[in-house]
Subunit: 121 residues, 4 copies
């Protein structure tokens, strides 16, 4: 059993990843601390694709690069889902709650069109 009950697609991912790790006896390595490290390592591999591009270039990736980027994004999601299982966090619920919190921190009337305020978020 996993913890993504509110979303069938994430729940299915979580269960596939649990099977994957169990078959390889990798659960011993999957402490939340280690998973958080693995997640940021993947986030670095994702950023690597963009580090020397202009913003404009990053909005217009060639197809092969876009595919490579999609797989790095997938790796980030896979570790995030494994952390969610390990810590019994409902990702969708936490994400929706966080959007609400962010709405309070950045009221539309205060920040609209302002890069200065934006920069300080």
């Amino acid at each position: 059993m996993s913890n993504q009950q509110n979303d069938p697609a994430l729940e299915q991912l979580a269960l596939r990843l649990q099977d994957f790790a169990q078959q390889r006896d990798w659960g011993q390595f999957h402490s939340p601390k280690n998973l958080a490290s693995a997640l940021i390592v993947e986030a670095g591999e994702l950023l690597e694709h963009f580090q020397w591009l202009t913003e404009e270039q990053s909005r217009n990736l060639p197809a092969d690069k876009k595919q490579a980027v999609a797989y790095e994004m997938a790796d980030v999601l896979l570790y995030l889902v494994q952390m969610a299982t390990a810590l019994d966090v409902d990702l969708i619920e936490a994400a929706n709650a966080k959007i609400g919190i962010n709405g309070g921190k950045y009221p539309v009337e205060n920040v609209r069109g302002s890069s200065r305020k934006y920069d300080e978020r």
Copy 2:
């Protein structure tokens, strides 16, 4: 319209985030390059909670710390979903494809119970 059509919960998140950014006129800042930077910055804030903990401590977080960790995980997911929208990537599809690829890279019979092999993944 977003791109997470295969998953209602992610699709709803994507749409909320699009509204959120449009209301604040933030789309101009949300190039894939910048979103990849913001994502790793959040991954750093997530790892910060674990950096001095033992693995054992990370498996047994007190409730207030677990809540803080859940919100950092949410921030990572929120930027990941915004990248997916910007690049028209289906996260669930990419994640399932990537699990298949990883299964080929780490066959059970080669890596089971081996931390050496595991270390090299």
Copy 3:
């Protein structure tokens, strides 16, 4: 001319890196924003060596792994020095000033032997 005048070894590194980039016409890519991205990407490659190790294993690396780690540490330093040149920051001066600031934030009598306080630093 660089900006690491207070330290001959860093100054020499800075000058070698300026030559290296000029010969390749790479200065156009070396905005502080891009260098900060490149630095964290290298920090990810460094962390990758440790992500599945126990702390104890990380204190006892085999020689070949230690060499690989040393080169990743070098890459972090090389981008840090290039940022220092681009922003005209004296790294040694900033580092010494920061140790002083940290001493004020974590007084010995408050934090000694306390992992709780430590965790909150």
Copy 4:
């Protein structure tokens, strides 16, 4: 004793940091694994200053932001020096060796003025 013998300024930093940690009994937390995590967390705080800026803006920071950036760069250096002490790595020697290796990987005649080649480095 530290390991930065080839550079008096880094050696002095290393010794100050050893004193700092010993006074607080923090050596127990400073495994290379944890220091690599702390380093990337600081690299994230550094990148945070740049994530929504244009490259042009990042080349022209206001004075107060430049000071904040300098202190984040200092934090990265401080953890790098502590890793060097823990692993007995000579940072300056490793950095100079790495420049040599990079010169072989990116020969001037192959990569000059080419963003494509640059992107693949």
